[in-house]
Structure formats: structure tokens, C-alpha cells
């Protein structure tokens, strides 16, 4: 069999589609998970603390070195000023010359100028262009000629001092090394901060992902339990951590719920047993009485009493039935079936009743390119559709038309019952699903107001959506049942024609 490229492409798309969307989904979960947000906040806090800490270290190392330099320069100026006071200009010049001679590298910078601005002595080529600040400090690029053809330029911090006789003295230090060290410290700190933030982010992500994964398990189990599988339990990782405790607590709660449900079921079974037994007794006594030698009048009374007892019993049975279907335990009788013959059976059963009031019942099945299979409880589904048809017959005018329709698609089967009666006003559509609720004008019709409640219970058991709609005119009740994956059966005719029964 040849496989076209298109099929292949679709195949891959189908295979890739869900996993991609799951990935997207999970990253969205991580971003929205409160744990991850906490981790982000934590990362921010760590980042800020580390930044403050590093700032302090920077201040106390690089800053200390700068302060040391300033202090040395200050002390030297004090010393030179003292020399000038005691030994005059000549003495000062001598000291400066000695110091310059001792430092051929030019790490210490000196310049003494006359009031005219001309240099008297110094190892700086010219007075800096930069104006000093209020304290006399100046930072500039010094240019020194240290001999023939040797000129160096470097970053310098210096202080300017004014001596008596309008002389100006500049004392500075080469701060290249200091700047380099400072840059080194700054670089190291920046990297340190970046790594810290990166690690915190990674840790937060991992932590968030791990937590989301474990929460996912809890969510998955909860969903299964809500679908009626009460025996499911949350698995525990066996580490005894908070999540295991949560799982343990949930499991204990589930066990309690299961025990309660079981006891409710037992109680209702017992009530059913006891009450129905008493009712049996009552009805059978009436039946015995009916067989006895009675006047026609008394016999008629007994017949009415039996009918009343039957009425009571049927309401009671329906109520118990709904309660048990709602308990969601009745999936044992589920089997694969084709809904169309079921609709035809309902139509066939009710057709004579409809014909009495000149109504017709039509059945239509639409199957889109696949055999229509449904996983359902045959008797309950029949009961539900029968109740809907029963209602439609009761509430449609004479000569009306009732349409049963099964529409099969890839993912779901939609069964609908449509009549052309007065319909149900929108505000009452929720209420008619409640037990014993009946729209006032229909009080005259027989029934106990449990028919639609039972339909709803059956819908719930099948995971189906039940909706009441305006068919303009009339009412359309739609049951949308999810389809099971296993549809591997013989192909059937697609789009069967409508067949009036």
C-alpha cells in the first residue's frame, strides 16, 4: 500500500502536535505556578543582597586604596610646605629635586611654579589643563619627559597647593595600577553577580518544574476521581516530604469519601429493601382484597387504590434509580453500540402512542465517514431517549412531528429529540431538570416530574452534555456523548437517508 507524502506529513503533524502543545502547556504552567513566582522573587532578593554585599567589599578595597593614595599625597604636601617654611624656596627645590631623582619611573609627580606660571622645578611637562576641585584635587593624564626621547603618559591623581609668595605646588601619584586593580575587582564582582542571578534562576526553574510535575499528578488523579473512578489514589514519592504528606492526606480524605459513599449506598439499598418490601405487602394485600368477594363499587375502589400504590411506587423507583445512576457506579453495563437502531427501537415502540394523537416520529442518522459506535449503557440510553420521546408526545399538539436524530462525528455522537410543541421558556430550562419540577400548565398531564432528571443523570453517567434548545417552534433536547477511541468495526453506510417510521 502506497503512502503519500501528504499522509506522512499529516501523520507527523498528528504525532508532533500533542507533544508540542503539552510542552507549551507545561511551560505556561511553570510560569503561572505560584512556586515559580516565589522562586523568581527569591532570586531577586538574593541578587539585591549580593549586589549590596559586593558594593561594600568594593568600597572597602578599591576605596581604601584610593584613600591611602590621597593620604600619602596630603602628607607629602604637608612635608614640602614645612620645608618651604623653614628653608625657603631653595630648600624646597632641593628636596623636590632629590625626590625626583629617587624615582626614575616617574610614579611620583611634582611641579612647582612661579607666580608668573613658569615652572621652577618638577617632572611634569606642563601644568594640567583641568581645573582642581574645591579641595585642590585634580585628576588628569600626566605627560612626563624622563630623559631624552622618553616621554610617558599616565593617569594621575594630584593635589594643588598654594604656598606663600604666590607659588603653586602640585604633588601627584601615578594611579594606573590602582585603576587596573579597581577594574579587576569590578569585573570580578559583575561576573559574580551575573552567575549568582543565573544560578538562582536555574534553581527556581528546576524547583518550579519539579513541583509542577508533582502537582500535575495530583491534578490528573483528581480529574479521574471526578469522572467517577473513586478508587484512584495519589501516588507518593516515598520521601515523606510535604508533597507526600499532601498525597497521604488526600488519600485519607478519598478513603473517607469512598467509605461515606459506600455507606450511603448501603443505606439507600436498605431503604429500598425495607420500603419496597412494605409497599409490596400493601399492594399484595390490595390484590388479595381485589380477588375476594366484593361489591362492584368496592372493587372499583380497590382498583383505584392499586393504581395509586403503583403510581407511588413508580415515583419511588424512579427517584432511587436517579440516585443510583448519579452515584456513578454503574459503568459495568457499558458496551459498544450503534445509536441508530436504538433510536429506531424507541421510535417503533412509541409510534402507536404518537399515532393516537396523529403525531409522527422520524428517525435520521448522519454518520461522517466512520462507523457510528458509542460506549454506553444500552438500557439507560434507551430509557433516556424514551423519556424524551414520551415528553415530546405529551407536549406536542395533535398532528405534530417528532424528530430523532443521531449525528456521528470523529469525536462525539449527538442524539437529539425535537418536537414542534410550545417548547420551554429559557428561564425554566434549568429548572425542568430538577426533580419533581413540572411546568404549571402541564400539571394536568400524567407523570411525576422525574423524567428529565433521569435523562440528566444518564447524561452525567455517560459524560455527556445535555442541552435544551429552542427549535423555533418547539423544543430540541440534545445529548452530546463523547466517543470512545475504539471504533475498529465494519464500515457502515455513511449518511443514511432519513426513514419515517
Amino acid at each position: 500500500m502506497a503512502i503519500t507524502a501528504e499522509q506522512l506529513r499529516q501523520g507527523t503533524k498528528r504525532k508532533l502536535g500533542p507533544s508540542l502543545s503539552r510542552l507549551r502547556l507545561s511551560s505556561r504552567f511553570i510560569l503561572t505556578s505560584s512556586t515559580f513566582r516565589l522562586a523568581l522573587l527569591y532570586m531577586l532578593l538574593v541578587g539585591v543582597s549580593v549586589a549590596i554585599l559586593l558594593g561594600f567589599i568594593y568600597w572597602s578595597t578599591a576605596g581604601y586604596m584610593a584613600r591611602q593614595t590621597d593620604a600619602t599625597i596630603g602628607a607629602e604636601i604637608q612635608g614640602l610646605a614645612e620645608q618651604y617654611r623653614r628653608r625657603g624656596l631653595a630648600g624646597l627645590s632641593t628636596v623636590i629635586a632629590e625626590r625626583i631623582a629617587r624615582d626614575p619611573q616617574g610614579a611620583s609627580i611634582y611641579l612647582l611654579t612661579a607666580p608668573s606660571g613658569n615652572p621652577i622645578i618638577g617632572n611634569l611637562d606642563s601644568w594640567p589643563q583641568v581645573a582642581p576641585d574645591a579641595g585642590g584635587w585634580v585628576r588628569f593624564r600626566a605627560r612626563q619627559s624622563l630623559g631624552e626621547d622618553v616621554t610617558i603618559e599616565h593617569e594621575t591623581r594630584a593635589k594643588v597647593f598654594r604656598l606663600r609668595g604666590d607659588l603653586r605646588l602640585l604633588v601627584g601619584r601615578d594611579v594606573r595600577e590602582l585603576t587596573a586593580i579597581r577594574q579587576l575587582i569590578l569585573d570580578a564582582m559583575t561576573w559574580g553577580l551575573a552567575i549568582t542571578v543565573g544560578l538562582a534562576l536555574l534553581g527556581g526553574w528546576l524547583m518550579g518544574a519539579g513541583i509542577v510535575r508533582r502537582l500535575d499528578v495530583v491534578n490528573q488523579v483528581s480529574r479521574e476521581i471526578m469522572q467517577g473512578n473513586l478508587s484512584r489514589r495519589v501516588p507518593s514519592a516515598g520521601t515523606g516530604d510535604d508533597f507526600d504528606q499532601l498525597a497521604d492526606n488526600l488519600n485519607r480524605m478519598l478513603e473517607r469519601i469512598e467509605a461515606l459513599m459506600l455507606s450511603i449506598r448501603q443505606v439507600s439499598d436498605n431503604i429500598a429493601h425495607d420500603l419496597r418490601t412494605s409497599l409490596t405487602r400493601l399492594r399484595n394485600r390490595l390484590e388479595l382484597l381485589h380477588g375476594a368477594d366484593l361489591s362492584d363499587e368496592a372493587r372499583a375502589e380497590v382498583e383505584v387504590a392499586i393504581a395509586d400504590a403503583d403510581e407511588l411506587l413508580s415515583a419511588f423507583n424512579a427517584l432511587l434509580r436517579i440516585a443510583r445512576i448519579e452515584a456513578g457506579s454503574r459503568r459495568a453495563a457499558f458496551a459498544d453500540l450503534d445509536p441508530l437502531p436504538l433510536l429506531q427501537d424507541v421510535a417503533e415502540l412509541y409510534e402507536p402512542l404518537a399515532a393516537e394523537s396523529l403525531q409522527t416520529i422520524q428517525v435520521e442518522g448522519v454518520a461522517e465517514n466512520s462507523p457510528c459506535r458509542l460506549h454506553a449503557d444500552r438500557d439507560l440510553l434507551f430509557q433516556a431517549i424514551a423519556n424524551l420521546v414520551d415528553n415530546a408526545i405529551k407536549h406536542s399538539p395533535s398532528g405534530g412531528q417528532i424528530r430523532l436524530r443521531a449525528v456521528c462525528s470523529e469525536t462525539s455522537v449527538e442524539l437529539s429529540v425535537t418536537d414542534d410543541g410550545p417548547g420551554i421558556p429559557p428561564e425554566l430550562r434549568d429548572k425542568v431538570l430538577q426533580r419533581f419540577f413540572r411546568i404549571d400548565e402541564s400539571r394536568a398531564a400524567p407523570g411525576h416530574g422525574l423524567g428529565l432528571s433521569l435523562v440528566q443523570a444518564v447524561a452525567q453517567l455517560h459524560g455527556a452534555a445535555l442541552s435544551l434548545e429552542d427549535a423555533a417552534p418547539g423544543l430540541r433536547v440534545r445529548l452530546r456523548l463523547p466517543k470512545q477511541a475504539k471504533t475498529q468495526t465494519t464500515p457502515s453506510a455513511a449518511g443514511r437517508p432519513s426513514s419515517p417510521v
Binding site: 418490601t277 382498583e303 453495563a333
Partner: protein, 225 residues
């Protein structure tokens, strides 16, 4: 006819004993599971009526034990548990029919008669049925009355066939739903009555002697008198 009733409710079993007695059957009663099993294993009965919820030994356990020892006596299970899976459980354990309380005695009676007829051995396969001048040919799927052909819908044919197979017996509406339509459900309206009156219009209308009769408070009966 010998009937064994295993039922712990004394009023119900007393009533059953009286009703069966009026039918001319001899009845043995047991009010707990152990005595019931003892009686069932030691005597030959035509039919047994066994409640599900019993003291000492559960009803289904009795049936399983009897079936395991090769006892073929037809069993009708009585129960207050009416759900389909309960019914399936009961039939799987070896019960032949399942009746949910509360039931009319006529319903029980009709079912027991049907059970006993089903178990009658040695019958050759039936190809035609007849009641008075009404004849039903199972092979040709034709119905005649007094020599005149009667046209019936497939479901009407099945309905008539069931009634004729149980001619002279009361057939209840529930039995018809279960056997002719093959669905276990509670109709809100008596839809069966309408089908019966249609069938009656076809087979009885043009004839002096009505065959299909309504039995008040119980069901229907096809008979020749």
C-alpha cells in the same frame, strides 16, 4: 406443583404461601438461607423462589451451590435491588429470572408459569402455533385466522408469537418489554397497551370470539374460551 420459597420477610412468605396454595401448588417455606439450601438440596421442586438478601446465607450463594451440584430446578430471584448490574449478577449466578420488589403476585405467577414451560423437556422444535382458529406459521412468518390471512408488522408478529407461546397464561407488560422489545426500562406511559390494542384490532376485530384479553391489574392473556 411443588414450590420452594426462601424469603425472610414472614408477611411476604405467608402471603406467597397462601397465594400459591390457592393455585393448587404445595409450598415449602424457609426463612433463612441455610434452611433454604438444605430443603432445596434434599427435595425435588418444580420451581424455587429465592430472595437475595437473606440471613445466614445469601440468595446468590444458594443458587451457585445448587448449580455447582448439578441441580437444574428453575429459580426466580426476588430482590429489592433492581439495577441492571444486580440483575446481570443474579442471572450469572444461575438464576433463570429476576423479579424486583415490589411486585404484583400476578407478575410472579406469570413469570413462574413461563419458567416452568421453558423448562419442559423433550419438545420438538415448534414450527407453528395455534390458538382456536388463529394460526401462526413460524417458518413462512404468516398469520391466519379462520383461513383469512392477517398482515402484521415484524414487531406485531413477535408480540403475537410471544402471546401464543404463552397462551392461557397471563403475560405482564414488563415481560413483553423484556422479551419482545428486549429492553429493561420503565415506560412513563403504558406504551404496551397501545401496541396490544393495535394487534387486537387486527386479529379480533372481524371475529365473534375475542382471543386477546386484558387481565385487570396484571397484563394480557391470549386464550380460546
Amino acid at each position: 406443583m411443588r414450590v420452594l420459597v426462601i424469603e425472610d420477610d414472614p408477611q411476604l412468605s405467608g402471603y406467597l404461601a397462601k397465594a400459591f396454595g390457592e393455585m393448587g401448588a404445595s409450598v415449602d417455606l424457609a426463612d433463612n438461607g441455610r434452611d433454604g439450601l438444605f430443603l432445596a438440596a434434599g427435595n425435588a421442586y418444580d420451581v424455587m423462589v429465592i430472595d437475595r438478601m437473606l440471613p445466614e446465607l445469601e440468595g446468590l450463594a444458594i443458587i451457585r451451590t445448587l448449580r455447582a451440584s448439578g441441580n437444574p430446578t428453575p429459580v426466580l430471584i426476588l430482590s429489592a435491588l433492581g439495577e441492571v448490574d444486580h440483575r446481570v449478577e443474579g442471572l450469572r449466578a444461575g438464576g433463570d429470572d429476576y423479579l424486583v420488589k415490589p411486585f404484583a403476585f400476578s407478575e410472579l405467577h406469570a413469570r413462574i408459569e413461563a419458567l416452568m414451560r421453558r423448562s419442559a423437556p423433550g419438545d420438538a422444535p415448534v414450527t407453528s402455533l395455534s390458538v382456536a382458529d388463529l394460526e401462526l406459521d413460524l417458518l413462512k412468518r404468516q398469520v391466519h385466522r379462520g383461513g383469512q390471512p392477517i398482515a402484521l408488522q415484524p414487531r406485531e408478529f413477535k408480540l403475537l408469537e410471544y402471546l401464543m407461546r404463552h397462551a392461557g397464561q397471563v403475560v405482564t407488560r414488563t415481560m413483553l418489554l423484556e422479551n419482545v422489545w428486549d429492553y429493561h426500562f420503565d415506560p412513563q406511559t403504558n406504551v404496551i397497551d397501545v401496541h396490544i390494542s393495535r394487534l387486537r384490532a387486527k386479529i379480533d376485530k372481524d371475529f365473534d370470539q375475542p382471543l386477546l384479553q386484558t387481565v385487570r391489574g396484571a397484563g394480557y392473556m391470549l386464550r380460546a374460551d
